[in-house]
């Protein structure tokens, strides 16, 4: 007798899942997908409104020319830095442990970057002219640098994602896919190199974006050569939280999938790298802040205390950014004893991510909220539902892409092995001993 449509779907679904990977039943998977899909549709509707009716659908205005979108884009891209940095550590610095998370990192990177770019496309007033940036580039603009690097790096990410897809059990039965995946994988370190180069620059220029704003003394920073200090701070912070975010997501996936995906050693290694860079970042950030308070800002006629006397942006925000969400997690991740506890690890990683998010928030939102002219007011801004919706679409999109990748592609190469090891241990148990 022929299997019913439901059964057939289940069989096809199974076909695509790699051998020996335990994945939830088709039904449960659909159940998980459904709400996210719904969210995606809603978000796409919101985005469509903004595209068709124009940006009057948002709550941005002439003073708050950048809003929720830019803030979240910056954050997401910083968190996505795990992709390039892990790649760099694995393929260039040959830290082989990280092979266990590289695929997952690539997918996360892809999701973050493609999502950010999608939102940017909605954010600009004339999306159909976005390509003018390539056609008449103003090479002095940080935004040009960002645009070029991000588009290039997105391409690289797609190419890096390709092998992961082609390795799928069903797809690799097609000889050309199999062969291409094999050959591409041999050259992957080239792409990793290029990716590192590109990411280095666009993470930086995202920071430069604000550091160069001579007209916004709150954001303006002096720097080296053509780059303000924020350029380097952004690179550092991104590189620091990238691994943290990988750690966080991997841990989350382990919890959701209820299975071990990587060895604890990988977690600790990620944490150590993250902690180290975070410590360096915090130091650099502190120095930069002092220079800014004592030299840069006064020279432009603004005393630093003026910025922080508008509620709610008190000096607490500096403390939170540098100490609470910077120094603290760095210390946790650098202390072997604490690092041993996954609980501490994950908390620290989460805090580090919050720290960077806060930093991006301050850079975008506080900069715009603060008045420059003495007679204009301190502004606040609440994003409209269309803005929130559009961003939720990206979140949903991310979750979906990741879920599918996790189900059908082998994101964590050690997963199978870890299961066998677990089985081996099971065998050690006396009840089953002395079998031969």
């Amino acid at each position: 007798m022929l299997p019913g449509p439901k059964e057939r779907m289940r069989l096809v679904d199974k076909e695509f899942i790699a051998r020996g990977l335990r994945r939830s039943s088709t039904g449960r998977f659909l159940l998980w997908i459904l709400p996210w899909a719904a969210l995606l549709v809603f978000g796409l509707y919101a985005a469509a409104l903004c595209l068709v009716k124009g940006l009057n659908q948002t709550n941005m205005d002439n003073r708050f020319a950048f809003g929720l979108w830019i803030f979240l884009d910056l954050t997401v891209i910083a968190l996505g830095a795990g992709a390039f940095f892990t790649g760099f550590l694995l393929y260039i610095l040959k830290i082989d442990e990280l092979r266990a998370v590289i695929n997952s990192a690539v997918v996360i990177g892809l999701v973050c970057y493609s999502g950010a770019v999608a939102v940017l496309a909605v954010d600009v007033g004339q999306p159909l002219r976005a390509w003018f940036t390539f056609w008449y580039p103003n090479v002095h603009s940080m935004l040009t640098e960002v645009t070029f690097c991000i588009t290039c790096y997105l391409t690289v990410l797609f190419i890096e994602y390709l092998p992961i897809v082609l390795r799928n059990r069903k797809l690799r039965e097609v000889p050309s896919f199999l062969v291409f995946e094999h050959e591409l994988h041999k050259l992957i370190y080239v792409l990793a190199g290029v990716g590192t180069f590109l990411s280095f620059f666009h993470q930086g220029s995202l920071g430069g974006l604000y550091g160069v704003l001579r007209g916004r003394p709150f954001a303006f920073r002096e720097g080296l050569a053509v780059w303000p200090s924020t350029f380097f701070l952004f690179i550092l912070s991104a590189a620091a939280v990238g691994p943290s975010f990988i750690l966080l997501t991997t841990w989350l996936v382990e919890k959701l999938a209820r299975k071990q995906l990587v060895r604890p050693a990988v977690f600790r290694r990620l944490a150590r790298i993250s902690g180290l860079l975070l410590a360096v970042y915090v130091l650099a950030k502190a120095v930069d802040t002092l220079v800014w308070i004592n030299r840069t800002s006064p020279e432009t006629g603004f005393q630093a205390w003026q910025y922080y006397s508008w509620k709610p942006f008190g000096t607490w925000i500096l403390f939170a950014e540098i100490v609470l969400f910077g120094l603290l997690p760095a210390l946790v991740m650098l202390t072997p004893r604490l690092r041993a506890h996954t609980g501490w690890l994950v908390t620290a990683a989460a805090m580090a991510c919050c720290g960077v998010a806060l930093n991006r928030f301050v850079m975008t939102v506080q900069t715009l909220a603060l008045p420059t002219l003495s007679f204009d007011p301190f502004l606040s801004y609440i994003p409209s539902w269309q803005e929130v919706g559009t961003f939720l679409a990206v979140v949903a999109y991310g979750v979906l892409v990741y879920s599918f990748s996790f189900r059908y592609f082998n994101l964590f190469p050690e997963e199978r092995e870890l299961r066998l090891e677990a089985a081996a241990q099971q065998e050690e148990e006396p009840a089953l001993a002395g079998r031969y």
Binding site: P137, F148, L187, A424, R435
Partner: protein, 277 residues
Amino acid sequence: MFPWNYGFVWNAGHIIFLGAFYAVLAVVATTVAWAVVRSERALHSGEVEAIRWHSDFESLPCSDQVCRHVLTGELRERQCRRAFCCGECETHARLLERNPLPRVEEPQEEICGMTFPLDRFYHRGHAWARLDRDGTVLVGLDELGTRLLGRPEALRLPRPGRRVHSNGTAFKVRRRNAKVRVMCPVDGKVVETGSAERGWYLRIKPDSKNVQAFQHLLRGAEIKPWILREMERLQLALTAEGAVPALADGGVPVADIAAAYPTADWDAVCGAMFLEG
């Protein structure tokens, strides 16, 4: 973007910036193109099977990549980096001449109630190869393999005249949800196809009959330790793939193991045993 576009000036800024941009594009494009060219070449020179084996081999757990000389106890631990192509392996050659395989008297090994005739070579994917007088090679499934697959629900044999490659697919078997590629021990051309009943599946006219062609296959004294090891792996796979009850009868596999473990993910078990990714 181009010298003839608005706002382009021949100055350091433009040259450095756009230079870097085009360099990146060039590198990425070349990388991809290079991969394409190479895969084209691979496709035409029929390396597909080899490549599949290699990428499968890479995705095997380290415990399954162990060197044959570890099985025999000559080495404590060694992971094979050559995808079991011992022909190219100088360590293998060295070890062989240092201590050649001891002769084994019995015509066959009895292991866990399974018979393994010693007049043939065994592939680690549980296919055997026997050189006939007429110079052809018979290819069959060893007893462990047979018991794993029990009575196949489907069997796909290559048509006579098809080329088969060592470590490539010899024939395909389906049992329950398990789709298994049984790997071919030797390079050659299929001259005749057999069946489970006849005890062999393929008669192959090998490309060469010299020792090199069979170098990578196990023989004689190597069989026993290997099969014991295989039994452990089977055990492990069964436990891992959720087989209840575990082997009850002191480890002697029943004629149809698959039937004995209805709950096990048989696809995964076979995948592990037949060295597929």
